[in-house]
Symmetry: C2
């Protein structure tokens, strides 16, 4: 018999609680597993021995149903990067103390890039110390920028929200008889996956987004203005999707003035809005989808949620089979009918690396997405949740504020 | 036999196409009505004789189902205020030319404040010219600031989106162990109805929104900072709902510096974010719900959509009964079970007037909403659409771009 622990880390998504349910449900099935601990605020809870008993926390199938439709991380999160254990093992020893005291034989870490680095380092340290404690990483991030895996849990729901919302924004922007430009800023500091996914609308007969800018393509303000002017000759309401992470002209930062004399006041969307207003002079609006793109679980992709649960469950089986230092990944078997296989790879193959949009997904002009990319994106956004409502609002599962403090 | 015409005006909502369906369906039933014309871009289409045959446009029940779940105005919109016909009747005569040429005996205008002014003026002009053409106003606005009517179509869907989204933002904001403040900026230039409706979450056991600021209460930056500091002693993640229209300190406008030395860079949310960052120094984020609050039909209130259709249909019956210069209104019969009656009032009672939050809905500190208001708000957000999807995204009904141009 052993106990296990699970933690959630990094930026919230709609699917990270579904992966927690996956770990929990699979562990319940195993007679060799006794207590299932949830670590509060990611690895911080392991360091500070701040764990809760998840069998008390989740007391019914109804609780699991609610958790699946609750965005963000019910156990809290952290942005904590472990130092190299060869240089400073103090924190590692604190984690070991928690693990040993609680008789924990396996630790599951649901997170992004940094969390997979933690999985890698912890498993190395335990091997060095000859501790038989398995460490398994369960991926998540709306950025979809993890290597090896076909895609990451959380991305499909974000892409579904962004596609549905961009379609609604397109309807909203098209009503007046005067020409207009709408710039929609989408998350993604280094990789343009989520921004690129808006091209899903092309498969639905929409001409929007008319322009798409991703960090993978070097951005030129002159070319941008030329692109916008060209689209304005074709469409009354031009809709532009832009990654927050596109390379802005040098010197364009908060309070700094660019070649055009514009200040980069807040996000790139607001900046481009100001550039268009003064250089083209048309009606223009910028929209930042902000945290809504990572927490709008009311329009999550059910494919994403069920996959997130499945990959959490697969993580438990992987640890029980004796593996450690592994990250669970999706391998796509087929686009249509969409089929994925869940496998595991060494965490070092995933940690601290980023996956960028393939060149073939970006058009030759570098300002839109090819139809070729749609076969990749479309399966990830299929299916809708059967939401449990509470007086007209989707219901959430939450811990008391005092538990999280 | 006569023909009729219908037009949509003002800012988009999720329910304005449902009212169009209501007018269309009810007119179809009437043997005395022949052609049903849709005017492109509101009253502009009537001036320019730019109408389309709605029986060709809507060819099936499926089309009506799609229209009901399509946000914004399928016929386009305008922001056009008619001059007083006593001073300049040129445009009035153009409208009359269209009406006479097309043998239109009744005109239905779906819109907000300005549109009800148009209804009033047109009906006066037709009476003066002894023209037997009925004019009926069908209300809509997410701002809910129309007089006489209990509420306006479009408001319930916006309130449902805002409540669900604020709940999701609350989950998103609560994950880290460090204190934070999130400022959510909500539409409403003069009246705080939509911002106040976020207090619905209190009925669901949420402590958020912890602070609510509406235009009906004079805003003080000093008191605001005091309020925020106080809430930070009680909650790790403080969530603030603020109307875009609150009175900012004098001189606080784009590029102008306030007493604190902060620039009012974009919306009030971003401004308050900057104030909190420099005065309190905690983690802070501002979120502008932007046009999503008026076009997110994927989470519309089904009560709102069905009422919007019903009030459109009632408008047709009102015209057929011989009335003109009237605006259709809801009279609430009962909160629970929720019951409304549809009546009509003279357009002059509604035009150019604004309805503000009752004093009893605002707490004595002027920084939150009373539970008393919840009986009013809650019935309006009930019920969900059974969405027609298209490859994972809600499907919309649209006219070709060339028709709208």
């Amino acid at each position: 018999m052993m106990n296990i622990a699970v933690a959630q880390s990094g930026g919230p998504t709609c699917a990270i609680n579904a992966s927690l349910v996956g770990v929990f449900r699979e562990a319940l099935k195993e007679k060799s597993i006794d207590a299932i601990f949830g670590s509060i605020n990611g690895i911080e809870g392991m360091i500070e021995n701040h764990l809760i008993d998840m069998k008390t926390m989740i007391s019914s199938n109804g609780d699991m149903d609610l958790l699946r439709q609750t965005p963000s991380t019910v156990l809290g999160s952290c942005r904590y990067k472990l130092a190299d254990w060869r240089e400073d093992n103090k924190v590692y020893q604190q984690i070991v103390n928690t693990l040993v005291q609680r008789e924990i034989g396996a630790f599951f870490y649901i997170g992004g890039n940094d969390s997979m680095d933690t999985v890698n380092k912890l498993s190395e340290y335990f091997a060095e110390k000859k501790l038989d404690i398995k460490v398994i990483g369960i991926p998540k991030t709306i950025d979809n920028d993890l290597c090896v895996t076909d895609h990451t849990p959380g991305f499909g729901s974000a892409a579904k929200y962004v596609a549905a919302t961009l379609r609604e924004i397109t309807r909203d922007s098209t009503v007046y008889s005067i020409p207009s430009v709408t710039v929609v800023e989408i998350m993604g500091r280094h990789a343009g996956w989520l921004t690129a996914s808006t091209a899903i609308l092309h498969a639905l007969g929409e001409t929007a987004p008319h322009l798409v800018y991703v960090p993978e393509v070097k951005f030129s303000l002159e070319k941008f203005l030329k692109d916008v002017r060209r689209q304005m000759t074709k469409h009354k309401a031009v809709i532009i999707a832009v990654s927050e992470g596109i390379e802005v002209p040098e010197g364009v930062q908060s309070g700094v003035v660019d070649n055009f004399g514009h200040k980069y006041l807040s996000g790139i969307g607001k900046y481009l809005e100001n550039v268009i207003r003064s250089e083209i002079g048309c009606k223009v609006r910028s929209i930042e989808l902000n945290v809504m793109q990572r927490c709008s679980s009311h329009i999550c992709s059910w494919t994403d949620i069920t996959e997130a649960e499945a990959i959490g469950a697969a993580g438990v089986r992987c640890a029980l089979s004796g593996e450690t230092g592994m990250v669970m990944v999706f391998k796509r078997v087929c686009d249509m009918p969409y089929t994925v296989d869940i496998q595991h790879v060494d965490a070092s193959e995933v940690a601290n690396k980023e996956k960028f949009l393939p060149k073939g997904y970006i058009n030759s002009a570098g300002n839109n997405i090819t139809d070729h990319a749609l076969d990749y994106f479309l399966p990830l956004i299929q299916g809708e949740p059967n939401l449990i409502m509470e007086m007209g609002v989707p219901k959430h599962f939450t811990l008391q504020e005092s538990v999280l403090k």
